[in-house]
Symmetry: C2
Subunit: 498 residues, 2 copies
């Protein structure tokens, strides 16, 4: 364990992640099983993600709405696959009142306040939303509906990890309704591209885009697209999914419309979502043994200014300069914090803000100030530069874009170094041996669920994506399955997944 | 009922409100008892409210965070008043799994998946938040904590009305922790002023600010401040509350801190909230028999442009002009919509956008265009103006501020016309006779809960606010109680409330 109190990635990656999330003030455990508290620093990161995504959704024609948290049990009974996937491990509301215990010591459920029909806290909202859409859609002129919802959902997960898998999490879920299969297909792919661009341009996380296999698709979907990122322990992390639901939910809820030609037809649907899991993916992509490394475009604080000063006289020199530079940065549109705490040493403050992932630090020491200079430090590389005070704000602003690009380049290089093309079972199995990751393994597969399951049983690796376009041209050429030797149309991407 | 399909306020105010909310596309009923769907137009209004409030909270030093939806039952047992106020009518989660029924027909609760301790869907989050604060607060240097949360809550209301009272609603809840009573008091009053400014400056709704009586204060508070608005049927509507919680929750959860002097002390707290109920208050303040009247600063669409054209030739003339003006408006920062639907008549479109509360309509007719002009119509007054095309965008922009101010002036004049000062029980009782409202009645009260209850029993009116400052100087002078004749320090405000 380092002196900052988090283990190194090398020594214990899982503990490193967990301690980092706690120490960087991103989240905390709560008294409620599997539920986390998202602390202000973590929530500010989520707000920045929300703002960027919301703008992208609106730019592609979507609007927000809000549907009920509670779903009647019977709604889940309508779509068979969906039941199997979601309705079983869930939070069930059975009563609507507590009363005092007969002995006066505490509360108990009032047996007289049992609900006629149990309500489920939404694990996802297809059913309750399609119940409304069925009322709203009569004619082709009511289509398309392009609605998104920002909401909390609950899934009764047995093994939870902060951000990656929690019983309650925050997400957005888009639910769209279309007159034709092709329109829904275009929608699902439009959103997949929004997710890819968000991951790459905002999170600085390169992602694979592709189709899920039948085994991995959403319960109730015709087919599922996904974006998949690679963590530093070379596992895949699913960062977003976009589903073409076909007419499955329309048929389950009787959602029909009169077409322009006067025929009664079932509506086509998509749904798509990303969640607070993105924060886990972001942490795993860039952070190091000193703590969080945050891409500047999403960082809650982009620049921290640390004015030194052991005594009043020194602080009288450095604090006004800190305030002036902070104002210059604000005017440049930069999110800035001045750390004037008097009882903490500069070294303590450096560690403190490094743990919290602030991309650029400006150190204002009395000696440097006398020569009209300040020291800037980059969080990602640790590099330092001495810059004239008149240029400090602009320099710190320009560093934001440099760091953003650099993080993305580094993550892409890491992914490429950990993407393997193999053609024999021996090579394949060797990569996934042991408890570690194995990277993205690009191999031929015969296209059957049985083979995928057998591979998963032997290696714990699953198909993360069937690429829409070959990653390199030869991936798109036919070959033979790495396990069965049967014919394969193209290579697919295997990995062990979070 | 008017030809637009909503009753007039005169004929049936309650039905007018309900039908307006539905027809203006603000909300819809759902299949879940007491829960509403907030439709895109209503949600866009809520997003504008959120954005403005969130900016005001951040400008006063607050940050956002997120705490769990589910609260262990035992947490409610700790603060006695709070239990009585909130824990009883609530949604209780008792199980975490559904299984198939033995006959294979549908789902049932798995009796083997009973929770050890029941979980309550938060009706408000004091308990779960103070459970975390107790972990986070050790020393005076950890204070203050100034956290806000945007969240959904559930209260098992028996009689629900869209936006005004629903089983699930959206809100923000601030929860702050302070070292001293005075600091907490300052916080509670700071937020009260944020709420007042938001109501007046954004919603164009004048509000009374004041203290709640003991009967009306928050369950668990030391004292409660509120803002109260007057509806068009002359009832009070509580639009926001700010509570000084004293040390009640700190004592219930054992939240102590080491003071600068090294003493162990209990923390002081505040909590405060506004909800989607604000949308109901906004509707009731300004709207008319044609539908929603929305203050421009919060309107999802501020200007609608209706280009006429019965045939291709006419549309080829009006549509490009509409697009050009729309772009000019966007460049001026105005939210604009061009209604190019071909199958709907101009009259239909006028009614359609009037129902949805768009403050300004621009009509582009071929004849006016030929003379280089357009017609602008104000939603609030119906006034029309003919304006040269080169000035249309700026004119429509400037009208926004005019309408905003005009709505506020009108609401203030209405409130003043419906505020009555009475000194005898006969006058008092007469104002509240029958099923109608009665306005704000400013009268002397002897300060006892018994008298308040007796007044409420006889008239259905309650004390809405004990003004912090006299509304007019003489309100602050002593007098005798309107019911008992006992001494009174100042006048208070009575009304029938939503």
């Amino acid at each position: 364990m380092s002196n900052l109190g988090i283990p190194s990635r090398e020594s214990n990656y899982a503990d490193w992640y967990n301690e980092l999330v706690l120490k960087a003030d991103l989240a905390d455990h709560s008294a409620v099983r599997g539920c986390m508290v998202i602390k202000p620093h973590g929530y500010a990161l989520w707000e920045n993600m929300q703002r960027a995504l919301d703008d992208m959704f609106k730019a592609t024609g979507h609007v927000n709405a809000y549907f009920p948290l509670l779903i009647p049990k019977s709604f889940f009974e309508r779509e068979a696959e969906h039941v199997a996937g979601f309705a079983k491990e869930c939070a069930v509301v059975t009563h609507h009142r507590l009363i005092e215990k007969p002995d006066g010591k505490g509360l108990m459920v009032d047996p007289n306040a049992k609900l006629e029909e149990e309500l489920i806290i939404r694990p996802t909202s297809e059913t309750v939303i399609w119940n409304s859409y069925t009322k709203w859609i009569q004619s082709y002129r009511d289509l398309p509906i392009l609605i998104n919802q920002w909401a909390n959902v609950v899934r009764w997960e047995l093994r939870t990890r902060l951000f990656l898998r929690t019983a309650e999490f925050l997400w957005q879920e888009g639910h769209t309704a279309h007159a034709t299969y092709d329109e829904a297909e275009t929608e699902a792919l439009t959103i997949l591209d929004v997710y890819r661009r968000f991951a790459e341009d905002w999170m600085a996380v390169p992602v694979l885009t592709g189709l899920k296999s039948e085994n991995e698709k959403f319960a109730g979907a015709d087919h599922t697209y996904c974006i998949e990122a690679l963590t530093q322990d070379v596992r895949a992390i699913q960062a977003g999914t976009s589903h073409h639901l076909g007419q499955n939910f329309a048929k389950a809820f009787g959602t029909q419309f009169q077409s322009a030609e006067g025929k009664l037809e079932y509506v086509y649907a998509t749904s798509w979502g990303v969640s607070t899991r993105l924060i886990g993916a972001l942490v795993m992509a860039h952070s190091d043994d000193k703590g969080l490394v945050c891409p500047p475009k999403l960082a809650p604080i982009q620049v921290v200014i640390v004015p030194m000063g052991r005594d009043e006289a020194a602080r009288a020199l450095t604090h006004p300069v800190a305030d002036r530079i902070a104002q210059e940065l604000i005017d440049l549109g930069i999110r800035v914090k001045v750390d004037k705490r008097e009882k903490e040493s500069p070294g303590f403050k450096y560690n403190y803000w490094e743990m919290r992932g602030v991309p650029v630090r400006i150190e204002l020491g009395p000696r440097e100030l006398e020569s009209g200079q300040a020291v800037l430090a980059r969080r990602d590389t640790g590099e330092k530069a001495t810059v004239g005070l008149e240029r400090v704000a602009e320099f710190a602003r320009d560093l934001q874009a440099t760091i953003q690009q650099s993080l993305r380049d580094r993550a892409l290089a890491f992914r490429e170094a950990n993407t393997h093309r193999v053609d024999t079972w021996e090579e394949f199995a060797a990569l996934f041996e042991g408890e570690g990751g194995g990277g993205f393994v690009v191999a031929h597969w015969d296209g059957t669920s049985e083979t995928e399951e057998e591979i998963s049983k032997r290696t714990k690796a699953t198909i993360r994506a069937i690429p829409l376009k070959p990653l390199i041209p030869s991936d798109g050429e036919p070959g033979v399955c790495v396990l069965t030797g049967k014919p394969s149309k193209q290579r697919v991407v295997f990995a062990k997944a979070y």
